[in-house]
């Protein structure tokens, strides 16, 4: 089964209180040099069948109408590389 990842982030002009709270905490924890933090959502979808153009188009539509609230959020859709760059 293939994995498709949908990343949903607040639009740049929209306030991201979570990201801000995280960023403000970093110096206190001894992590300097992070100019900005934005926090969003990551959806991992396990897709049955082939992930072809048509499947991606459907997932795109799903992201647009459901996974993201396009009033305030942007999203990207991509097929996951088989093995991630490990933690």
């Amino acid at each position: 089964m293939a994995r498709v990842v949908v990343d949903v982030m607040l639009k740049p002009e929209i306030l991201d209180p979570q990201g801000q709270a995280v960023q403000r905490a970093l110096p206190r924890l001894g992590f300097e040099g992070i100019a900005d933090v934005r926090q969003g959502k990551r959806f991992e979808l396990e897709v049955e069948g082939p992930v072809d153009e048509a499947a991606l188009a459907r997932i795109h539509e799903m992201a647009e109408t459901f996974l993201a609230n396009t009033v305030i959020e942007d999203f990207t859709v991509r097929v996951d590389e088989p093995a991630g760059a490990g933690s």
Partner: protein, 749 residues
């Protein structure tokens, strides 16, 4: 890129300006030019256009709202009246209470979660700005049909938004309303109320006085929120460069607001401010012009000093931004350091952005150049006033003639029983715990009563047990049938609710939700409703202390039902004497107070069983309401009753079922002589309540009612596991509970 400075405006009198795109009318634009003696700069145009908008200037409603002041009853309790961020009422023992209800309808339709959340945020800052600690919130809501797919988008979002924001602020949600009707499809109503408490000496006003005093902006950084409109201006003025996308939606940060509350209260405690204003609609334009015009008039602001979240904002946009969680304070220079220390303690950003001057102009500078030079009063208060035409709609007669009394009635006991189940299971009468369980009602540890009680009640003094109670009500169906009476019924019901829980009603706030004022029929509804409310407040002795108007709630030509939402605040000397709605004790006697007539127009029965709206709403008798309230309050104070529940939509049977389910006890009632069982159960005559009287108190109670002339009819007894109407039917509590509590979860999950 040329900055449109005052000098530039003087030199280019003929420059084209996008006043129409900003919502101004030709004559309004001319008026601005007249006031200034030149064309406005872009920044000035931005300020006037937003402050003269319907939302901020009340240009269509002002002439009608005046009555609230003109007809205001003498009331010694009123400390601050209409015109400030919120009214303030004396509740004794040196305490003052402030409360207000506001709308956030349109934003909540576009983005339910954030729209509702920022609605709570806005009203809380209004209360805070008066000097009070916010102690509770309420949320009167209206949605489209319960089974409409869009309601499944709007309702959960709105509820999560109100909860997400209010819970995080630590404000108990002690009540509200959730009503469904197809007329609100596309125009949900999200009204929010906040109550705050302070000592008399802590009352603060939105006023900038004392030349040399500093203007401090504190709270969140300013971003491009809610300035969809002005981007026109930015693009006109700076054709080549400049930001493109500006969010119309504001996102709230309740954590920031919680810090703002604690920080501000600490600042108040040390008496560091001479004037304070929250930033809500119209942002800095509103705060600076209102503060300046309420004070001596002069203020100078360096706009470059405003901390920004988005460095690309133009000065016009900064002035109009509706970024949430900001406040503006006027501080004497000697207090500035301490003010900043407190802000630092709470991680709140604070910046001196200007000072009060001894002039009479509001002057705003950008990179050293003057971009605003106006008499602040002309921005804040001298907006246009319209006497919009109004006319009783031609369909009103036909609607009133379509009497609900002619609808088919249940013919058998079996049908009567089925219709009782239909009624208590209808979304409008069903239990709302799916909603209210998402709200923290316990936080602050002072909640005496909360939903589903008749009113929300909080203790305000631990030593003396002083408390306040608030109820909000509004019935758009009644108001549609007769807006004058409908508004009075809303007041009467809220008043009755407060009294039923044992508190003395003191003052009123209201949120008037209507369609387009440009429609003479809607304007007539508005005129009638305000007149009705003002008259009734005068009779009941409860002044309107403030409120809000929301117009243009309509889709195409179809307006919502006129929906005046009325909040009544009451005081109770000793919260241990509060009266709950629960019938909890076997053997206690059930009395019906007041008169039951055949009144079915606009009733819940006519909606639940027949989807009908027509006829006349119930009659209002304000003297009777006042008497009923007196009896309910005395009876609670003297321990003569141990439960009370007001009768409103759904009539007697609805109230009986609610009191029984709440207490987990059944009741046996008999239909009084001369009354038709159907009318007895379903009529919605006003001025009534059910009470539970311990047998030992019966004589004392009936004597009191008799002596004061209030009809009190013994209709039954608290008993068993069923609600039984003798000779008609019996319904088990389990069956009633399933019907009453199952509806909303089934619709929403």
């Amino acid at each position: 890129m040329t900055l449109d400075t005052v000098k530039h405006a003087e030199q280019t009198p003929e420059a084209e300006q996008p006043w129409a795109e900003l919502g101004l009318k030709q004559d309004e634009y001319e008026r601005i030019r007249e006031i200034l003696g030149r064309r406005p700069t872009g920044a000035e145009l931005a300020m006037y256009s937003v402050m003269w908008s319907e939302h901020c200037s009340y240009k269509s409603s002002k002439v009608h709202l005046k009555q609230f002041g003109e007809k205001a009853p003498e009331n010694d309790a009123m400390l601050v009246g209409i015109g400030e961020n919120a009214g303030v009422v004396d509740v004794g023992q040196g305490y003052a209470v402030t409360f207000k209800v506001e709308s956030h309808n349109h934003p909540s339709y576009i983005e339910p979660y954030q729209g509702a959340a920022t609605g709570v945020g806005g009203i809380v800052r209004d209360i805070l700005a008066m000097g009070a600690r916010p102690v509770a919130v309420m949320d009167p809501l209206r949605f489209g049909a319960a089974d409409h797919p869009d309601t499944k988008r709007v309702l959960p979002g709105v509820v999560a938004g109100i909860g997400g924001y209010g819970n995080c602020l630590g404000l108990p949600n002690i009540g509200g309303e959730a009503v469904f009707d197809p007329c609100y499809q596309g125009n949900p109503l999200v009204n929010a109320l906040c109550v705050g408490v302070m000592k008399h000496e802590d009352i603060h006003l939105a006023k900038a006085s004392g030349a040399g005093n500093k203007v401090i902006l504190y709270g969140a950084r300013t971003g491009g929120d809610g300035i969809g409109g002005v981007s026109v201006l930015a693009s006109e003025t700076f054709t080549d460069k400049g930001p493109t996308k500006r969010p119309a939606v504001q996102v709230g940060d309740p954590f920031q607001e919680k810090l703002l509350i604690e920080c501000t209260l600490e600042i108040f405690k040390e008496k560091l401010v001479t004037g304070i204003q929250d930033l809500g609609g119209a942002g800095l334009s509103c705060a600076t012009s209102e503060l300046a015009s309420a004070g001596s008039g002069g203020m100078r602001v360096e706009l470059d000093t405003v901390p920004l979240r988005d460095a690309t904002l133009s000065p016009e946009e900064i002035l109009m931004s509706e970024s949430q969680e900001r406040m503006c304070a006027i501080v004497e220079p000697r207090h500035v350091d301490r003010f900043m220390e407190i802000c630092e303690k709470w991680d709140v950003i604070a910046t001196v952005i200007g000072e009060v001057t001894d002039g009479e102009r509001l002057e705003i500078f950008w990179h050293g150049e003057q971009i605003v030079d106006v008499p602040p009063g002309t921005v804040a208060h001298e907006g246009p006033t319209y006497h919009r035409p109004y006319a009783r709609p031609d369909w009103q007669d036909a609607l009133q003639a379509d009497d609900a009394g002619r609808l088919p009635r249940p013919r058998t006991a079996e049908e009567l029983r089925d219709q009782v189940l239909t009624l208590v299971a209808h979304p409008n009468q069903a239990a709302k715990s799916w909603i209210t369980d998402q709200y923290d009602r316990f936080v602050q540890g002072n909640t005496v009563l909360a939903q589903p009680e008749d009113s929300g009640m909080v203790r305000i003094d631990e030593e003396t047990n002083l408390g306040v109670a608030v109820a909000t009500d509004g019935n758009g169906r009644y108001a549609k049938l007769d807006p004058y009476t409908g508004a009075q019924l809303a007041l009467a019901e809220a008043y009755r609710n407060v009294a039923a829980s044992g508190a003395q009603p003191l003052a009123v706030s209201d949120c008037l939700n209507f369609g387009s004022p440009e429609d003479p029929a809607v304007m007539w509804q508005f005129a009638e409703a305000t007149r009705g409310l003002a008259d009734a407040c005068q009779t009941l002795g409860t002044p309107v202390t403030g409120g809000n108007v929301s117009l243009y709630n309509q889709t195409g030509d179809t307006a919502i039902h006129p929906t005046p939402v009325v909040a009544v605040l009451g005081v109770i000397d000793d919260i241990t004497r509060r009266t709950p709605i629960a019938f909890a004790d076997e053997g206690h006697l059930v009395y019906l107070l007041g008169d039951t007539r055949e009144e079915l127009g606009g009733s819940a029965w006519s909606q639940a069983v027949h989807e009908h709206l027509g006829g006349l709403p119930p009659k209002v008798d304000l003297e009777r309401e006042r008497l009923l309230a007196e009896i309910l309050i005395s009876a609670s104070r003297d321990g003569m009753i141990d439960a009370a529940h007001d009768l409103s939509d759904g009539g007697l049977i609805q109230a009986l079922v609610e009191s029984c389910l709440r207490g987990g006890k059944g009741a046996r009632v008999v239909v009084p002589d001369g009354l038709d069982p159907f009318v007895f159960l379903f009529s919605e005559s006003a001025g009534r309540a059910l009470v539970a009287v311990p047998r030992s108190e019966e004589l004392r109670f009936t004597d009191m009612c008799g002596a004061r002339g209030l009809p009190a009819t013994r209709i039954g007894v608290v008993d068993g596991e069923t609600v039984e109407v003798q000779g008609q039917f019996a319904l088990s509590l389990a069956e009633l509970r399933e019907a009453h509590e199952g509806t909303i979860p089934a619709l929403l999950s």
